[in-house]
């Protein structure tokens, strides 16, 4: 099979293959998915590395993400500007980390970033409260939410500073039996 595509140079494709968990075919497929979100914005020729960013609304409406309560945080974590507007590089990065092949540590790192709503490199009680409310769609009473957050901090906070650092989080998540199978998007 020859290099019949003209979207990327062969070196670009190889570089993407080295930097993500995707094969060349999959990278091309992902490119077409990216382009389908806004065909008028995304050019068919990426050999000169155009600077194209898709707004968050388009990313959040993808079928793989639209039902996820954390889609906004996911887009924010992987986007360059931190607001959810993604370039193709960010797009590939995101799905690479969330793919089946990504190792546990890598996923844990990004999961921590996703659940850290205020971006202060710690998951504090307010972050936990936001997470619980997103997960239960605000169906728990405030007392129940508070109890849950206290329990989480009690369980996972090893350095006793009242919030979860990256090490605390990784230490806790690495043992979770379901983490790899749930922190996974197939595209």
């Amino acid at each position: 099979m020859g290099n019949k595509q003209t979207i990327f140079t062969p070196e670009q494709l190889d570089a993407y293959q080295d930097c993500t968990f995707f094969t060349r075919k999959e990278i091309l497929r992902l490119f077409y998915r990216y382009r389908d979100l806004a065909p008028q914005l995304v050019p068919l020729d990426y050999t000169d590395k155009p600077d194209v960013t898709l707004p968050y609304e388009l990313i959040g409406s993808m079928p793989e993400l639209k039902d996820n309560p954390f889609r906004q945080r996911i887009a924010e974590v992987f986007s360059e500007d931190g607001d959810g507007n993604m370039t193709l590089d960010d797009f590939l990065d995101m799905f690479s980390v969330l793919s089946e092949m990504a190792p546990r540590d890598l996923k844990a790192y990004y999961a921590f970033k996703i659940y850290d709503f205020n971006n202060d490199d710690y998951i504090c009680k307010s972050d936990l409260e936001k997470t619980v409310n997103k997960l239960t769609r605000n169906e728990l009473t405030p007392e129940e939410v508070s109890l849950v957050c206290e329990k989480v901090i009690y369980e996972a906070d090893a350095d006793n500073d009242g919030k979860l650092s990256l090490e605390d989080f990784q230490h806790m998540i690495v043992r979770a039996p379901d983490f790899l199978s749930t922190f996974h998007i197939r595209i």
């Binding site: 849950v148 806790m172 922190f183």
Partner: protein
């Protein structure tokens, strides 16, 4: 490796260092995708590393390496896809999985545990059905003598007129009674058909085999559950894992997402209940006193109902002796009415008593189950007494035998002297007088009981749950008080009642399938429709309990009750096989003094003679008693070792905990 064509000569040390650096860069390139960096950074690092390596190592054979990597990745992905598809296929083969998952997400794991139990029972009944249908009913239907050829296979002349009526068939008399569905139809010929199929032997072995299989599978499931419970019991990060790993990022469908949200909420609520229970401060003395009081009250209730049942059964036996025609409707149905009333009111009473005890909801459910179980044993007792009475027909049999000989004499009408042979007079089988066939009668009783039980359950669901929900929903607008919050409101799913109903129903099947081979088939049909009806009813008419609690991961409590009922159910069948002579003119064992003689008959005819001798030696009590002693001792030994393993396990867990907390 090539060295660079730079100006100065390269020393050995520098060469080695360079080689090391090149290796490092190569490793970096290989693991670049695992690094938590933004794509831009990765790309620039990649470029830099590649330039470095290329400079100091020439062409790496980039092309080959990349191709091999791509191929390896493709194969890995294909393998993963295959595994995924296979898992999906396996899951798709399990029936009703989606239904149960939906119920679990809305109502919690305890309600779902009932449906999982129901599905497991369905599996067992399918196997029992396969055995009875394939090895008993089908051979007799295909290879045995057809309907009408023998007296036992024909509807008697007197009943012929009504034999096809729906009412008769619903009552399992008429044509239903004289068919492969019941014991009485089967002929006692040793072999039937061109296959020389040993029908009586097959009947006997299937009867014993269904019970043996049931025992084996119940105990195997209990053992497996016990294993699971001991294994992964890591609760140290319970809430953290719930929070961070419960949302499934693969969900791309709004309905599934709804279910998942409900399931997560329920799961959190369950965990919160557990946590609150463990935090509760107890006034130990008051609690203990209340619990003792509650148990005392429950015992009084049970004793009272037990005595009432005993009293009522005695009275009904007295009535039966004096002839039922003399008494009115109440006396005739007294036993049934008392049983139904007890079954309706006592569980509610137990519920009230249990509020004194203040247990964790899961433990309260177990106490409730245990008490209602004891209550239902009374039901079982009366049923068996009633059957035993009907079986005591020895006197009746003698009379019938006498009548038959008189009837035969009248046929010949004194025309033939006793010691000469004559062509047998052809008599229509329908006209031959019949002996009492207690096995068929027992089978019919069980079938009727199962059918009426099923009807009662369905009607209760339709009226108690569905109509009630409709009433509450639509009359709420024009009613004085809020129907939804006050009385009667929507009903909750009654786990204990349903589980016990299922267990006792299965007990009936085990007891009766020896006498009515059609019972497993009826039960399979019943369980199948039950599953759909109850799933629909739960989702449509019930509300989740206020305090959803997590069912214990093993359902060993249900299994233990099932095992007990299985044991109780096999006692009557075994007793009849061993002690009561089979009816003399119906069924595959007619003519023998005991049912198990079919075994010795088979050993005589079908096995070489030395086999019979060996069997005779093996069944010597002198051999069997030491064997039993050996088994008891090995049970004791295994129990002791398993206890010591459990203790060692706990010690290790504690050590692990302390290491982690350091």
């Amino acid at each position: 490796s090539d060295s660079d064509s730079e100006e100065e000569p390269i020393t050995e040390e520098e060469l080695a260092k360079l080689k090391e650096e090149v290796e490092e860069k190569k490793k970096l390139i290989a693991t670049l995708r695992n690094k938590p960096w933004k794509m831009k950074k990765k790309l620039s690092v990649l470029k830099e590393a590649q330039l470095f390596v290329e400079k100091f190592e020439g062409a790496l054979g980039k092309g080959k390496g990349k191709k091999f990597y791509a191929y390896k990745v493709m194969m890995t992905k294909k393998w993963m896809k295959f595994q995924r598809d296979f898992e999906n296929f396996k899951t798709a083969c399990i029936p009703w999985e989606m239904k149960i998952k939906e119920i679990e997400s809305h109502f919690g794991s305890s309600v779902a545990s009932y449906f999982i139990f129901l599905r497991w029972m369905y599996g067992i009944n399918m196997i029992l059905f396969g055995l009875t249908f394939g090895l008993v009913m089908v051979p007799e239907a295909l290879m045995g003598k057809p309907y009408g050829s023998l007296p036992r296979k024909t509807v008697p002349r007197a009943e012929e007129a009504s034999a096809m009526n729906f009412a008769t068939l619903w009552d399992f008399s008429g044509f239903a009674q004289y068919s492969v569905l019941f014991y009485g139809y089967y002929n006692n010929q040793r072999t039937i058909g061109w296959l020389k199929f040993r029908m009586p032997l097959s009947y006997f072995l299937v009867g014993v085999g269904t019970i043996g299989y049931s025992f084996m599978i119940v105990i195997r499931t209990m053992a497996r559950n016990a294993n699971e419970e001991g294994g992964g019991d890591d609760t140290s990060f319970n809430f953290s894992w719930k929070m961070f790993t419960s949302w499934d990022y693969l969900i791309g469908n709004p309905e599934t997402a709804d279910n998942k949200f409900a399931s997560i909420t329920t799961s959190f609520k369950e965990a919160i209940v557990e946590e609150q229970e463990s935090r509760k401060e107890e006034n130990i003395h008051l609690t203990r006193f209340l619990r003792v009081l509650a148990n005392f009250l429950a015992l009084c209730t049970l004793a009272g109902s037990g005595y009432l049942i005993f009293f009522v059964v005695r009275r009904s036996q007295k009535f039966a002796l004096e002839g039922l025609e003399n008494y009115g409707w109440w006396e005739r149905n007294e036993v049934n009415m008392v049983m139904s009333l007890l079954g309706m009111f006592c569980p509610t009473l137990f519920d009230v008593i249990s509020s004194l005890e203040n247990y964790h909801p899961r433990i309260a459910l177990r106490w409730q189950l245990g008490r209602i179980f004891a209550l239902f044993l009374g039901n079982l007792y009366t049923f068996i007494i009633a059957l035993m009475d009907e079986i005591n027909l020895k006197a009746k049999e003698k009379i019938v035998k006498y009548n038959i000989s008189v009837w035969e004499a009248s046929l010949y009408n004194g025309t033939i002297p006793e010691n000469s042979t004559a062509p047998p007079i052809h008599v229509d089988p329908a006209d031959v007088p019949r002996g009492p066939c207690w096995e068929t009668m027992v089978g019919q009783e069980f079938v009727r009981l199962t059918v009426s039980d099923t009807m009662t359950t369905y009607i209760t669901i339709l009226i108690g749950d569905f109509l009630r929900a409709v009433f509450v929903r639509f009359f709420n607008y024009c009613w004085c008080w809020d129907l939804e919050y006050g009385f009667p409101s929507y009903s909750e799913f009654d786990i204990s009642g349903n589980v016990l109903g299922l267990i006792f129903n299965q007990g009936m099947i085990w007891m009766g399938s020896f006498y009515a081979p059609c019972l497993p088939a009826i039960n399979v049909f019943r369980l199948h429709t039950s599953m759909y009806l109850q799933c629909w009813a739960v989702m449509c008419c019930n509300v989740p309990q206020e305090r959803v609690f997590k069912a214990s991961r093993s359902n060993n409590f249900y299994m233990a009750m099932l095992l007990f009922i299985l044991f109780l159910s096999t006692l009557p069948a075994v007793y009849t096989i061993v002690s009561i002579p089979p009816s003399f003119d119906c069924g595959p064992f007619s003519g023998k003094t005991r049912m198990f003689e079919v075994i010795s008959e088979t050993l005589e005819h079908d096995f070489p003679s030395w086999f019979g001798k060996v069997f005779g030696y093996a069944s010597n009590p002198g051999l069997i008693l030491p064997f039993i002693l050996l088994m008891v001792l090995s049970i004791y030994y295994l129990n002791a070792t398993s206890k010591s393993y459990k203790e060692a396990n706990l010690e290790l867990k504690k050590k692990l905990q302390s290491v982690r907390n350091r």
